[in-house]
């Protein structure tokens, strides 16, 4: 069963002559442990897809199902609980709270969800350790590099029992080696059972995903097929040119 499913989801803004169709009858599913990238240019609808998948926005029509539960049948409180407990978000600009340390930023959603401060801190430290950030736990965001801030944001997104990671251009503000580190972390989270959706316009980042979905003008137009084994790639390479 898919962990996240969008069924014929459409989203429009405005009405009449000024109506804009951001998403049109999108069918989209992500299994647990699977890493899907949604690739498209600015204005293609990819960020709208993400906010609807994370219940931050309502679709105009269609249904979003997370872990078997349809969002349309959930109360406002249930949805808020789902967002706190199940869904982790990562944004391009990190969205860390400046007045909290790295560990406090990571433990905050757990404390908001009613976990004791001690247990939340332990869970936060575990998440930070997994991402190689234990020695940065007491640092404030402005004492961290851009790459470290984004790793803290990923720790916050996967802390506790969050099994759905939604990321919008998560390495857009980072250089390519830090961007690669971020994608490796998201991939590692997926290998532990997290379902991840990353939206990006960047093919190098998208290529870390198990599946890449292409979106244009609100429509899903295409997707990659599962790649063959890496060995076949090297075996098929041509001999070097004999040109001297």
């Amino acid at each position: 069963m898919s962990y996240l499913e969008l069924r014929r989801v459409s989203k429009s803004y405005g009405a009449g002559a000024t109506e804009v169709h951001a998403l049109s009858e999108v069918d989209f599913a992500v299994e647990r442990g699977s890493f899907v990238a949604v690739m498209g240019p600015s204005g293609s609808g990819k960020s709208t897809l993400l906010t609807i998948a994370g219940s931050l926005e309502e679709p105009t029509s269609g249904e979003v199902v997370i872990n078997g539960d349809a969002l349309s049948s959930m109360s406002r409180n249930d949805k808020a609980r789902l967002r706190r407990r199940t869904v982790g978000y990562v944004f391009q600009d990190f969205n860390l709270l400046a007045g909290l340390t790295a560990a406090e930023n990571v433990s905050l959603p757990l404390e908001l969800d009613g976990l004791s401060a001690k247990k939340a801190h332990l869970a936060a430290m575990t998440a930070l350790e997994e991402l190689g950030l234990a020695d940065r736990a007491t640092h404030y965001p402005d004492e961290l590099s851009g790459g470290e801030r984004q790793r803290v944001a990923i720790a916050r997104a996967i802390v506790g029992d969050r099994f759905l990671l939604l990321a919008d251009e998560p390495s857009g503000a980072l250089d390519s080696s830090n961007g690669e580190a971020v994608m490796r972390m998201i991939l590692a989270a997926c290998r532990r059972g997290v379902a991840a959706v990353v939206v990006t316009h960047d093919a190098q980042l998208a290529s870390w995903a198990d599946r890449v979905v292409f979106i244009r003008d609100g429509w899903i137009v295409d997707q990659t097929v599962p790649p063959p084994t890496p060995e076949s790639l090297v075996a098929d390479l041509p001999e070097p040119s004999p040109r001297q």
């Binding site: 690739m39 240019p41 490796r184 991939l187 316009h201 960047d202 093919a203 190098q204 998208a206 290529s207 870390w208 995903a209 890449v212 292409f214 244009r216 137009v221 295409d222 997707q223 990659t224 097929v225 790649p227 063959p228 890496p230 790639l233 090297v234 390479l237 001999e239 070097p240 040119s241 004999p242 040109r243 001297q244």
Partner: protein
């Protein structure tokens, strides 16, 4: 890839046997570019003929027992090659560019569909390279460099397709221009 200059680079570290050079070449390219023995010895013979390398015994045929070393002329040649930019001034006749340009003229064919077919293929190829990087590249520096180079090359083609698609969409909204192209374009065309 210039096998000739790669061999000079390995010999600049010290005298070496032909088979050793072949192994070092393959290792240095992350085993991505295989090289056959014949190609190694043919290249070594030419380098020796041009006095860019020398061997212990000039009389023997190039073979496994022969040790090669770089000459002063070889060092100069290597230095010049390392610091000379590759010939990238003239754009190559890229097959993909030609396909997209051709698609604009074929009735019943959507250039956007053609662009998407190629974009998907390129991203699938990039996924395969990224998997290789995920599995092995962290422990193998030459291999990581080769994979990065290939990913950046493919990425630049995807970016060109994205840009082409955006330009085509905007062009629909704009009236066609009758002006001649800029001088640089006409010069490039004239040079062909």
């Amino acid at each position: 890839m210039s096998v000739r200059h790669a061999l000079l680079a390995f010999l600049s570290e010290g005298p070496k046997y032909g088979l050793q050079l072949r192994q070092e070449f393959e290792k240095s390219t992350g085993d991505v570019w295989p090289l056959n023995v014949g190609q190694v010895y043919t290249t070594l013979q030419r380098l020796e003929r041009d006095e860019l390398i020398e061997s212990d015994d000039r009389g023997e045929e190039a073979g496994p027992q022969k040790v090669f070393r770089i000459t002063e002329a070889g060092r100069k040649e290597l230095d010049t090659w390392l610091n000379t930019p590759p010939d990238t001034i003239e754009p190559p006749r890229d097959e993909l560019v030609i396909k997209v340009l051709a698609a604009l003229h074929v009735p019943g064919v959507s250039v956007h569909d053609v662009i998407q077919v190629h974009r998907r293929y390129l991203v699938e190829l990039m996924q395969q390279w990224t998997r290789l990087k995920e599995d092995e590249a962290e422990s193998d520096m030459p291999f990581a460099l080769v994979v990065d180079a290939e990913l950046f090359r493919l990425d630049s083609v995807v970016r060109w397709l994205d840009t082409a698609e955006g330009r085509l969409k905007r062009a629909v909204l704009e009236a066609p221009s009758a002006k001649p192209g800029p001088i640089i374009r006409r010069r490039l065309v004239a040079r062909r």
